[in-house]
């Protein structure tokens, strides 16, 4: 079963003075529902990408899951990244566990990216030896994002339907190699590219556009067999957990092109994720 993405809504502003995460998440999800022409009552499940440390809470979804539309809904949260949440939502539809799923993510940190990234390292060794410049691999951005995932064949397609999900994958760097600067995250990006290629229909390089986060993604291009594909502008900032959906929303495709998005869910590039989508 193929799944489609509708109502993709991204807001890459940091929180304004006096604005709460709860208010931003609510506004983003509501906009996604409206764009997809779906009522919350038609939603079966919610998949969230959010990070406790960034939000300064021990369980951030306690307060924010309901703002994301999860009240009385099946709800689950990953900390990998928004593309992984998108993929998990798609699998819930494919497995017959849900018909329409909200994907919601936010990265609206109350601390600087370097501090958050440093907490990803073990206290006894990693935080002492990590090269500070590598803790934040790209200028830090922020944002919230939401969309609706549903079966592509559902008769209720709204005006927001535009993309179908071809495949997704996720992975991570070898932690100790990353600390040592020994081939990571390059190796992780290579694995990610190879796995995406295995999980998707063969890429035609001439008809594929690729959007990646800032940094050296050549191992990904090589792994996926996309070295000759059209490369979309990288942009200056990395938007944390919602970077993937932000790139998906920003991509300008040519007619007939497939889109591959690859990024990382954390500032240090320890977690990596990728999707391939096509026009519906």
């Amino acid at each position: 079963m193929t799944t489609s993405i509708a109502g993709l809504t991204v807001d890459t502003r940091a929180l304004a003075d006096g604005e709460s995460i709860e208010e931003r998440v609510f506004a983003t999800v509501r906009a996604a529902l409206e764009q997809a022409e779906v009522e919350r009552s038609q939603i079966d499940a919610v998949v969230i990408a959010a990070d406790d440390v960034a939000d300064g809470r021990s369980i951030t979804t306690m307060l924010h899951a309901t703002a994301a539309g999860a009240h009385f809904k099946d709800e689950i949260r990953t900390t990998n990244g928004s593309l992984t949440a998108l993929g998990l939502a798609s699998l819930r539809v494919q497995a017959g566990l849900a018909r329409q799923v909200i994907v919601a993510g936010w990265w609206l940190p109350h601390a600087d990216a370097e501090s958050i990234a440093a907490v990803s390292l073990d206290a006894g060794y990693g935080r002492l030896v990590a090269v500070r410049e590598r803790l934040v691999a790209a200028p830090a951005g922020a944002g919230s994002a939401a969309c609706i995932v549903r079966a592509a064949c559902a008769g209720s397609a709204g005006s927001g339907d535009g993309l179908t999900l071809d495949g997704f994958c996720f992975g991570q760097a070898d932690y100790h190699a990353w600390l040592a600067g020994d081939g990571e995250p390059a190796a992780a990006l290579g694995r990610l590219g190879r796995e995406l290629a295995e999980r998707c229909a063969p890429f035609a390089q001439a008809d594929t556009a690729v959007s990646v986060a800032p940094g050296d993604w050549e191992p990904f291009f090589d792994g996926a067999g996309l070295s000759g594909a059209r490369r979309l502008p990288v942009g200056a900032a990395h938007h944390g957990l919602v970077d993937g959906l932000a790139r998906l929303a920003a991509a300008q495709l040519l007619p007939g092109e497939r889109l591959v998005v690859a990024t990382t869910g954390d500032p240090a590039f320890l977690q990596v994720e990728a999707v391939s989508v096509s026009h519906a």
Binding site: S58, I59, I76, R77, T78, N80, Q94, A173, Y175
Partner: protein
């Protein structure tokens, strides 16, 4: 939906402190037997789904990166799930989704906790509430459940003795369970005489703080035959409520002491499993109940009795090992509560029961089992129903 089977289950001996191992090493103690039972080679496992409780308990964000990746290797994709106390149940649901959708053939699901690491667990848990309204009053997991107990006493007429009876029953289960942390029997009189922590909750009614881990191997039909006695998933569901306990009192959509979202999740899981009369059709239950009032509430919500009638189940001994419908024969979370693994331990216990390998706490002839998990302010609930036979 592809059918999902559990072909491997492992858990650690749960303890108040395991300073001899790291979180990752603790996980390995559960992973090695689980993968071994499954009959799979490590290369045949397509992905790992990992969960622990709040990052602030470990002091590390996404602890699997420094803890588990170095031990399991970076080649397998690892998915981290976090839904508070419900994490164990949500881990299972995420892993089952990967298999049921066909994305993976075999998934290793791992939950773990080292709750001994932070100095004050309840201080950490206080940060999960709203910073303006609830954190300042000092709300934590114990007094949150005390509010529930008081309301049950007020609305349903449950008594301190009912709570003490549930505690004594679970502690007898802990004595029979070699993996339990609390393995000393206590009497109703001892429970009632123990120190009040947050009225009406007594010291002996509080779940322990635990270090521990649990692992399951989930596979599709094509690999289920590798293990001698695969346990089959029959139905699963999750449901989320408002964080605010005040939103769940009186005439609101849900009621705090009814566990309305657990009721909804159970209804959905039973529908998938074809179960119409849970009390008659379920043979054993492993309920996420770190306090006795939570067990009584859950028994109502999963349909073992009508609203407000869990006291009858307690008084008649129905929930005892050897009773009509044994609940938490392992001792449940009241005898071991490694937060990020507790929900998964419930499922591992169901697996042992359905295989007939639960040892001294085996329920004779168990063929259908239910496992639940609960998280947040009793707002996240998961339910999974299992059977010996494929659906």
């Amino acid at each position: 939906m592809r059918r999902v089977a559990i072909t491997g289950a492992g858990q650690t001996v749960h303890a108040s402190r395991r300073p001899d191992v790291t979180l990752g090493e603790l996980c390995l103690e559960a992973i090695v037997p689980a993968v071994g039972e499954s009959g799979l080679a490590w290369d045949e496992v397509d992905a790992v789904v990992f969960g622990c409780g709040p990052d602030l308990l470990q002091g590390v964000r996404n602890a699997y990166l420094p803890e588990l990746v170095p031990l399991l290797g970076a080649a397998k994709p690892m998915l981290r799930i976090h839904t508070g106390g419900a994490t164990g149940g949500s881990l299972f649901q995420a892993g089952a989704t990967l298999v049921a959708s066909g994305w993976a053939r075999a998934v290793l699901v791992v939950g773990a906790e080292k709750a001994s690491e932070p100095g004050d667990v309840q201080a950490v848990l206080n940060t999960m509430w709203n910073p303006l309204f609830e954190q300042p009053i000092g709300l934590n997991a114990i007094n949150m459940l005390a509010l529930q107990s008081v309301r049950q006493m007020h609305v349903h007429g449950y008594t301190l003795e009912h709570f003490a009876e549930v505690t004594a029953k679970n502690r007898r289960g802990g004595v029979r369970n070699p993996f339990a942390q609390l393995r000393q029997e206590v009497t109703v009189a001892e429970v009632l005489a123990s120190e009040v922590i947050a009225w009406p909750i007594k010291a002996l009614e509080c779940c322990p703080r635990s270090d521990g881990a649990c692992a399951l191997v989930l596979v599709g039909d094509e690999l289920a035959g590798r293990a001698p006695a695969p346990v089959r998933l029959r139905g699963m569901a999750e449901c989320t409520d408002s964080m605010y306990i005040g939103d769940r009192l009186g005439d609101s959509l849900s009621e705090y002491i009814d566990a309305t979202t657990l009721r909804a999740a159970a209804h959905d899981a039973y529908r998938q499993a074809g179960i119409g009369s849970p009390f008659d059709e379920i043979d054993v239950a492993e309920i996420y109940s770190p306090f006795p009032s939570a067990e009584m509430k859950a028994c109502e919500a999963v349909g073992f009795c009508e609203r407000g009638e869990a006291d009858r189940l307690v008084e008649t001994g129905a929930l005892e090992l050897g009773g009509v419908l044994p609940v938490n024969p392992s001792g449940g979370p009241m005898c071991a509560n490694p937060i990020g693994a507790t929900g998964l331990v419930r499922i591992a216990e169901c697996v042992e029961q359905l295989r007939g390998t639960a040892g001294a706490h085996q329920v004779d002839g168990a063929a259908r089992a239910i496992a639940t998990s609960s998280g947040g302010s009793s707002q996240f609930y998961t339910v999974a129903v299992f059977g010996k036979e494929a659906p």
